[in-house]
Symmetry: C2
Subunit: 694 residues, 2 copies
């Protein structure tokens, strides 16, 4: 605080001020001291996680590029009104698209920029769904027509599937497209309120076209949902075309830079060519040509891809939150036994470190899972080109359950990280509220998580039935073949440290998964009068148990993958010994904390004794203590630039209090010293004379 | 959709549109049908919960009154900018304050209006902390000076305690007030960045005065934090006074209608009379007169009061969220086995009802707990007037743990309710995001929840030590006296239905609490080298186990209170038989779902077998099925007017889709058909010719 008072006052304050400031170390000193504690090379791990040091350097270049753009400045990001968010988000996205095209950047660069800028805009579905759908479902002529326009942003599209009344149940969509063979046109119409398209990103005020999912009728027959390219706005005026009602659905919990929209049609006629006809076709005279039988599989493949990217992103989001909370709790000090003594670093409280370090292990595990998921998808994609779809059911089941598990844990984990930051975590300037509010939609979109778990459960029940029938199982559910023989097996752990062995961990996780699948099958059979049925009332009334089983299966797979990836990297010398040792501790902690969640089930099935279950707690404590000195170095290895996190609390240098104050000072509510309520509300109250003169 | 097309097209569409609309019932019909299923009189329960039918009628009057005020209209509430939120929130609060004074309303009316309007403003701490602190800590002269001005809002105050660097650790506050006996003034000063006051509500742009908690120095000696009334803004211009730096700390996750602020002082001199001197005093010549020994207790009493109100509010907030989600999932239908058949009500999915009904039981339990908590506080307050503080330690321990438990569960519960609403729950129009984002701060303010649990744990460990020393225990922790003898007891449940008995439930919850207290004591003793210490490293490194113990204790108390309240109401015929029967089912479900959370602990301690633990799941299912027909009637009994919930999904009439669309249509982003990004961003892209002409 600057000194403007007379010297006598200053002198008077000198000793008291010295007293209250004694014993404090600066947060920057704390951050530096933390980094000196590390037992491994954080930069080595960072390079490994980034799949090469080049990628880290490229990230730095992209940060420079982005932060030098007028739309790339994040200083005022948390102060924008909804309208500003929408306009600036669109501007940023258009800006990035142009840079990509002008500099002929790779897709990887594009993905990296998107993550660094973290400012979704009205083009999200143009790039993510409109263009891909035309490429995958359009005829060569349709692609030739739409792709150049789309690439130059002379048309902007979105993907209009979800309606007010139907999301999950796609077969229930109510928008119709009826073929009028006399005019060789489709009539597109929204017959009821619930058929209003609702949610598509970019639809509200941006898109000129949509890929419309509408129920196709030809000669009175219902062929179910098909895709049509429909223009909704005039290209000269940007006004809705006749018969089209379109607008923004209103503010959301987060993601407000995107204009999710509603759309309805009143008898709108479109040419026959509007239908994307690479697979299904309607001929001029009104004959419906069904798609080849593999078409259903192709659309499954698209879903699998989207879910794989959601799994990948979960590692990204959770690790950002863990980075912010770990950095802040390492430099935040609170409470001393005696005044004047150094206060305790918040990260040194048992409950804080036992919360954050297991979440950090989750974040690492998700990063590896995301990577494996993308590899699996890519090899499936290569096989698909040879018309080989054999990996699809397994991939579909895995990606569904992992989508649900990873997004559940990430959403809860971001909020947990926010609370570890205490009161200051509630400020947008901490970066965590925005992270949570924009992330949490992942739990309900692209398949609500309960529906996702149930898709995995369907696969598991089918596998269990096959195993019972003596059929050999392959893939992730293979353990179900041996499940009934191993029901009598007992856990071999005899000391807390035994719980660190991957073999013990995987055996226990496998056992829980098998047990919960068996339980779910039992509940389902009872509900179905002895028969296992895959839909209808019996299925719907067994979903709690089915979801539990799917979650256990996904957890097992997740952990197995984490073990495998770390061991492979160590074996192939992609990681030095000290780094590999720390990662192995994270793997151990991951397994132990997963098992603690199912301690009741482990005992219920008779696999573990109470003593063995109690040892999990002891071992978690031991692992957390062992990892504690490396906490900051581990989150540094995620290598998030300050620009990306945009968090006063997550700054790498630890200068958190200055950053909070700086952010408050530029807050628009402080634009005038008297504030915006003075004239309209306060003046007349505080100065009744003024009021009486008025 | 209105028909503007030619008759031929209309005819063409007729059959297809009929096809896609078949089999649907309207959401209003579903809501009505649900209410007809109820087995009890919802209005009777509503009157009981409101403590009298009069209060329900009064609520309706207040809704009419509020909604007729210009500042009481909620139509545009979800569309406000931060600046508008602040100004309108303040306006609403000033408006309510004026109505209360003009109509000489009771405090109950004031609390009801605040809850109905649900629009906190910059006066929150003026009313909630500034006035109460002057009343409790000011001398009669100080009260005579400040109270009339405060009541007329000619000064507006707030309570400035928390600093950038210190929240929980109040003894660590760094703002100083140094007595200058030669001038008979205090010099108030902020010696470092971290001493900046940070968070007080209303401080940013509203308050003219603060109750400042500053460390008092007299003649070089540090007397720790004391309270001072300090003016910070000029009453004529509303500008900060010389030496005062003040402003808003910036946007938060929620609660943005309140201007939480920062404040620092640069050698500001205030008169001796600024210190609130009812208890501690500084004489003119600079002699410090310490407060009477009971003063510490008085400040504990204030904390207890605040925590009791937080417990009460948790029932309020959780029940609002449960109301919205239950109403919406009862009328939302999704997925049919066959097209055209009626789709399933979302509330009929096993996982949805097994999520919502246990949360509903929680909400009821919290409502009863809040009521008991306020009764307990009031009887303590009456005793305190006779200088009887004997109930304080117990009340302090209970209110701390229950504050943490109820806010944890409520915050998570609101988000769970939001997700049960699927994608549409993500819209602000659902009411749930705002509820969550404004509520969640309860977990970190007025004592971070981990700190709260630890205060309860301190009491429990002390009680356990007293029990070991053979001292008699009273109050909520009494069960610890018998704990060691009962360690060999076993659960007597032999069928799922047995788990419904309050005796079995309470025995099991008691056992878990005793077991976790013993475990925590063991961990603490081990950390302290055999000794139980209540602070320092040993305590800080045992907090996970201590928190677990405190949570189990609070859960036990909560359930016991729910059982007792319902039984008392039934016995005193405050509830009819059918209503009491339904409430007893809720109590049973509450106990079962609490026990499911600790199924691992029940088995680990050898109290339950795996079979008994598994029966909890079966019984939860049976209870949920039994309660399902009453789901809507139960939430109706909370009697929230539509005005209060302000939720498109939580409307009592079920007309959810129309409400969503209505809310979207008035969204300001739709103010112009072409949208705000057309001119600045889109036009030049979509019309390159235009760009070339520019």
């Amino acid at each position: 605080m600057s000194s403007r008072a007379d010297p006598r006052t200053t002198q008077l304050l000198e000793a008291p001020c010295r007293t209250v400031m004694r014993g404090s170390t600066s947060p920057m000193e704390d951050a530096a001291a933390e980094r000196r504690k590390a037992t491994f090379d954080s930069e080595e791990l960072a390079a490994f996680l980034a799949e090469g040091k080049d990628n880290l350097l490229r990230r730095e270049e992209l940060v420079k590029l982005l932060s030098s753009q007028p739309w790339g400045d994040k200083t005022h990001r948390y102060f924008l009104t909804r309208e500003q968010e929408y306009v600036c988000g669109l501007e940023a996205m258009v800006g990035m698209w142009k840079i990509m095209r002008e500099q002929r950047m790779s897709m990887e660069d594009g993905i990296a920029m998107r993550s660094l800028a973290y400012f979704p805009g009205g083009l999200e579905l143009h790039i993510g769904m409109f263009i891909p759908t035309i490429l995958s479902q359009g005829t060569p002529e349709q692609q030739a027509k739409w792709m150049p326009l789309s690439n130059r942003l002379q048309v902007i599209g979105t993907y209009a599937q979800t309606e007010l009344g139907h999301g999950t149940f796609v077969r229930g969509l109510q928008t119709v497209a009826v073929y009028d063979e006399s005019a060789r046109q489709f009539v597109v119409h929204s017959p009821c309120l619930e058929s209003t398209k609702w949610w598509p990103g970019g639809l509200g005020k941006t898109a000129t076209h949509v890929v419309l999912m509408a129920r196709l009728f030809v000669k009175g027959r219902d062929y179910g949902p098909h895709a049509f390219v429909v223009q909704i706005r005039d290209l000269d005026t940007h006004l809705p075309l006749p018969g089209v009602t379109v607008g923004d659905i209103g503010p959301k919990m987060g993601y407000n830079s995107v204009d999710n929209g509603f759309l309805s049609f009143d008898h709108v006629r479109v040419p026959r060519e509007a239908m994307l006809m690479r697979f299904a076709q309607v001929t001029e005279e009104g004959r419906y040509v069904p798609p080849p039988p593999d078409n259903q599989k192709a659309s499954y493949a698209t879903m699998v891809y989207v879910r794989a990217t959601i799994v990948r992103d979960s590692g990204d989001f959770l690790s950002r939150a863990v980075t912010i909370a770990t950095r802040y709790t390492a430099v935040r000090r609170q409470t001393a036994s005696k005044l004047g003594e150094p206060e305790v670093q918040v990260l040194d409280y048992d409950n804080v470190q036992q919360t954050l370090l297991p979440l950090m292990a989750r974040a690492f595990s998700f990063v590896f899972m995301g990577r494996s998921m993308m590899h699996m998808y890519n090899s499936f994609d290569a096989a698909r080109a040879r018309n080989d779809f054999v990996a699809l059911p397994e991939l579909h089941a895995l990606s569904s359950g992992l989508k649900a598990l990873c997004t559940d844990v990430t959403a809860a984990g971001i909020e947990t990280c926010r609370r570890q930051c205490g009161g200051h975590g509630y400020l947008l300037a901490s970066g965590l509220p925005t992270l949570f509010n924009s992330y949490v939609q992942n739990c309900t979109w692209e398949g609500d998580n309960s529906v996702m778990y149930l898709q995995t459960a369907r696969y598991l029940i089918k596998s269990a039935m096959a195993a019972q029938a003596g059929k050999p199982l392959t893939g992730s559910a293979q353990y179900l073949s041996a499940a009934s023989q191993q029901a009598g097996a007992r856990c071999g752990v005899s000391s807390p440290a035994d719980w660190c062995s991957p073999a013990h961990q995987l055996a226990a996780l496998t056992r829980v998964a098998a047990q919960l699948v068996a339980q779910a099958a039992q509940v389902l059979a009872r509900a179905g009068g002895g028969r296992l049925s895959f839909d209808g009332e019996a299925w719907n009334s067994s979903t709690v148990d089915l979801i539990r089983a799917a979650r256990a299966h996904a957890s097992l797979y997740l952990h197995q993958n984490f073990v495998d990836c770390v061991e492979a990297a160590a074996e192939q010398r992609e990681l030095g010994d000290t780094t590999a040792a720390v990662l192995r501790q994270l793997v151990q902690l991951h397994g132990v904390s997963l098992l603690m969640e199912v301690a009741g089930d482990l005992q219920e099935g008779g696999y573990c004794t109470g003593r063995q279950a109690g040892m999990l707690r002891e071992q978690q404590r031991a692992l957390v203590y062992a990892l504690r000195p490396n906490a900051l170095a581990l989150v540094d290895a995620f290598a998030y630039p300050d620009y990306q996190l945009n968090s006063a609390l997550g700054r790498k240098d630890g200068n958190v209090y200055q950053a909070l104050l700086d952010s408050a000072r530029i807050n628009p509510l402080n634009a005038t010293p008297e504030g915006p309520a003075y004239k309209p509300v306060l003046q007349a109250l505080l100065n009744p004379e003024v009021r009486s003169r008025m």
